[in-house]
Symmetry: C2
Subunit: 143 residues, 2 copies
Amino acid sequence: MDPHAVETIEMELAHLIRRLIAETTYRKSGDSLDRAAYLLLDHIAGSGWASVKTLAEEFRLDSSTISRQTAALEKKGHLARRPVENDRRAYTLELTELGRLELERNKQMRTERVGELLEGWTAQEVEQFSRLLQKFGESVSEG
Amino acid sequence: MDPHAVETIEMELAHLIRRLIAETTYRKSGDSLDRAAYLLLDHIAGSGWASVKTLAEEFRLDSSTISRQTAALEKKGHLARRPVENDRRAYTLELTELGRLELERNKQMRTERVGELLEGWTAQEVEQFSRLLQKFGESVSEG
DNA sequence: CTATATAATTGTATTATACAACTGTATAGA
DNA sequence: TCTATACAGTTGTATAATACAATTATATAG
């Protein structure tokens, strides 16, 4: 494997992460979902429901982190909790209609923004980048 | 442009960023440079020198952030400051020998880790991914 | 000279995370 | 049937990386 290409990937990722963190975390936009909330809602939308525990496992974060984030989303009316039968410790989380709308709205905004960044790319490049990013994401998840 | 591919890129980036932040920021490894330090050293290594101001501009971060980060690197002996002629407010930062070594050691560790994630990829895929990431990084920097 | 601009630092707040302690509930073993 | 242990979730506290505002020392323009 070409070590130069790997080094480039490593360096680009480092830059990208720092850049995107700063842009999306500290410069508050006020009315859009933060990354955490966005991913939580998207995951719950995909699987239909979740618990604090399953979300913590899915995202490999501490359940205290998830607990606070879902509490915030519940407070904003984006998530609702439903008791679990036969286990009064647990509950499941579901999207509310508002949550579904917010998710859609945010997905659209974000996708638009990414689309702008990809202006001037050929269809083939976008296709390839999408495929390779996905593949890389899988590697990261596994290892 | 295929909207599905763009959406995939958007989603994968969101996941990747969150994942890599958590892995590289909060789970302390102790003896490796954090992302900030790594990028600062790399930039200074490439350009030979820098000031707090030029670094803040380069990374689009507040100079207070840079000031603290460079102070930490100076304290660890990775950076040294040299006075600027005719301006006693300012100084330039240069890598020390230790800084150069640490940078190299870290680059190697990181590149190895990325290499592991790319195991099983064809040379062509790695090549393409490298190129497209770089291209994407440029777009992010510009817009 | 004096007013203003600039380089860097320091103070304070926020966000996303981790780890540890805690509460309440479930379950397995004596 | 108790009791010990495990488990789901929450709350307390700490840390890292950032921003913005105030401050200090120096430079420069009028």
